[in-house]
Symmetry: C2
Subunit: 453 residues, 2 copies
């Protein structure tokens, strides 16, 4: 669901779809609307469907058309069946198959028989990079003016996603409400354990020492800030522009008696003040906007001590590509995952030295599997909070994100950096791995099967 390039300009859609919930919900057996039938019109419909399949790389899918016809891509036995119930959405698939599949799925006009993840995987596997995008790394990328991350634009963009209500996120995140890639240091870890391991991995990379000052940019519900203060004895000033998250985090700090060491500031990263020994940002950069990276670099340069360390953890790309149009419109307005060369816009204007980059892509696939499974377990509670369009929108977002990380459309970069003149850095990286008794090797296949049976 990630290969779309151009983000057409258009009005915001702030509510979660105007469509009323569909009459029938997903069930084991789906009876497509038989109107339309065969004959010349039916033959034309089939030709359209074949063309749609070719547009997305001829994946092994079976489409059941509104007229009841079954269409598959040539030469590929289908792995799953997609039922298109509505002629209106069917025609729109021609214009932008992935966007209107998502819209059709969200509104119930398109359904998937059985497992939702299978067709998403198949599409992510067969889809190729649009040729227009291919060798564009050196030319930069076109920028959307919609949902731009100005001071006020960022507030609006963040509000639309992160202020959906803490109760909603509590249904499927871990108990500490970390909404970023976990680190399954041992493959058997639960989501809770892997989120703690992620925080410890970040803290080790930052080599936090008791009494040090940390600035965190984009602190979510405060999980990492509180962990750093509690487990590593540091002082933290944590910034966030989501009002709901900041309120929640402050309350947690009070309950834990950490409010003398952790300060939550409801403000933009551009307004960060003070100085710090460590600068950390986990899962904010996606929302900063690539054009603002030099300004972020200036901000970090302004606050970070000469012997300080920094870490930025972000979703990324192997090559420049806009965020999937549907995800950008319905889930993450204004978001843009950068390539590493784009990320360097933060560092290379300031004589920061990049010390260490780690790509944890498949850890995010597993994290999303854990979120998705919890979401499905608690879907009735989601349904009590939101309409069915919302329920299906978020199911599709989580499932398609699993597939995107699994098939390499998205990456997860942790970048450790320091001022260029600092020699106060670890001699080797084994400090990140000491005192552990960790099972080794490529465990991806096992995890993949365990978590997505």
């Amino acid at each position: 669901m990630n290969a779309k390039q151009s983000v057409p300009s258009g009005p915001h859609q702030r509510n979660w779809g105007a469509a009323t919930p569909p009459a029938n919900r997903i069930g084991p057996s789906l009876e497509p609307d038989r109107n339309g039938g065969d004959g010349p019109a039916g033959t034309f419909d089939v030709a359209i469907a074949r063309r749609v399949l070719r547009q997305i790389g001829s994946p092994p899918l079976e489409l059941i058309l509104p007229g009841g016809q079954s269409v598959t891509a040539n030469g590929t036995p289908p792995q799953c069946r997609i039922v298109i119930r509505d002629r209106g959405i069917y025609w729109r698939l021609l214009l932008d198959p992935l966007y209107h599949f998502a819209e059709g799925y969200a509104s119930g006009r398109i359904d998937v028989e059985g497992d939702l993840l299978t067709p998403l995987r198949v599409v992510n596997e067969y889809m190729s990079i649009p040729s227009a995008d291919r060798p564009r790394w050196f030319r930069g990328r076109p920028r959307s003016r919609r949902n731009a991350n100005t001071l006020s634009g960022s507030r609006e963009n963040i509000h639309r996603h992160y202020d959906l209500g803490n109760a909603f996120y509590r249904l499927w995140l871990d108990e500490r409400m970390l909404y970023t890639c976990a680190y399954y240091r041992e493959p058997s870890m639960t989501l809770e354990q892997a989120q703690v391991a992620k925080m410890d991995h970040v803290c080790r990379k930052l080599q936090l020492q008791p009494g040090e000052q940390v600035i965190e940019a984009g602190c979510g519900w405060g999980g990492l800030a509180l962990h750093m203060a509690r487990q590593y004895g540091v002082h933290v000033r944590a910034y966030n522009i989501s009002a709901e998250q900041v309120r929640y985090a402050r309350e947690l700090a009070r309950q834990e008696g950490l409010d003398d060491r952790v300060e939550f500031v409801e403000d933009d990263w551009r307004n960060i003040t003070g100085t710090c020994d460590a600068f950390v940002s986990v899962g904010m950069l996606e929302h900063v906007g690539i054009e603002n990276y030099p300004a972020l670099g200036e901000t970090i340069h302004r606050v970070l001590a000469p012997n300080g360390r920094g870490l930025i953890h972000t979703i990324g790309r192997n090559y420049p590509l806009q965020l999937d149009r549907w995800i950008e419109r319905k889930i993450f307005p204004g978001a843009a995952p950068p390539t590493l060369s784009e990320m360097m816009g933060i560092f290379e204007g300031q004589d920061f030295s990049v010390l260490d980059v780690e790509n944890l892509r498949l850890h995010y696939a597993v994290t999303l599997m854990d979120w998705f499974n919890r979401y499905e377990q608690n879907v009735d509670a989601v349904r009590e909070m939101f309409d069915e369009n919302f329920v299906r929108t978020w199911r599709l977002y989580l499932a398609s994100s699993i597939a995107a990380f699994e098939y390499g459309w998205l990456q997860l970069f942790q970048v450790v950096f320091a001022p260029g003149a600092s020699n106060n850095n670890p001699w080797t990286r084994d400090y990140q791995y000491r005192d552990d008794d960790v099972p080794r090797g490529a465990v991806w296949e096992r995890l993949r099967h365990e978590r997505t049976r």
Copy 2:
């Protein structure tokens, strides 16, 4: 010695300086030429010297002018004394202080009292990034047409450095003739041990399995290719355009009985053919030329298996900056250390996924200290092979490189990558550190003192 931006066009200087060796060599006591004296001309000389010092950041140096006057930068007690013996070179310092210091030192018209490293360190510490270079990362960098790395240009550039004679390099490299940054996994390691540790670090990162096919681009004297075949049981095809190095490497392979598993090909990376499970290049990228990175990415894409791995090890920069003009002219024609964003030109046009970046900058400082110390121990043997200008040129190159890595003007990047669709990658990076009992922590200061008393 690294902050120069523009490389003026001009004829090659193939021999090591036309100047005859100076009458008197470096000794513990230096008597400057007293001609010029005081008076109006002397006062003017002093003003010039002050200006030269300001141009390079007012470092704490004492300059002894050809007229015998002593000049220091205001407010900084000097840490060492530089004696300028010749009025011609003295005037040229105004035009380009670092270039003409180097030229003057090489020809003996400038001398340093005591330790050569001290003034180089002081200059590297005080020098600031030329403001014209500062925020240029987004505009790219100007490219020199001199010493361009075309097929024939590369051959010429490589010949000028690497074909100086194997006997010369044997005087100061380790026994395996590795002419790239070592990895002092344990700080107590000798150069020999650290070069083996570097090769093992590279091989671990590549996860070499017995029977696999490896392609190496730029193999030097064959040390890594032979190590991979011997210790990891792989087949290697190794490319190099230095005729002297290839001849040496082939002879080693024959002596070791590895010539059935290691093939040395005297050809350019652009002409690499075949397929491989692992692609490795250690210390070649500096000579490729940034404009050729997309072509290098295409070459790797062409030969690397879908589940393959790759590693590129190179000197780099924190921000785009031409190689020091003197080093580019006298030592490494056509060389250019890239920033990480520039390096991404290899990967981001091909859907390669960058898995891991490690910066081993200070390991290169230590490596150079070991080389420098051996060079000085064997300087009489060098003197039998080359003239005094050569002896002093290479002494200055090694010493100034120590300072450049020590003060962050140069970096050392190891980048591990894989095809974007491959999930055949390690789950965590602890595999790089297992089975080791390695002393931890920041050991830089200790090493720095141990190796450069």
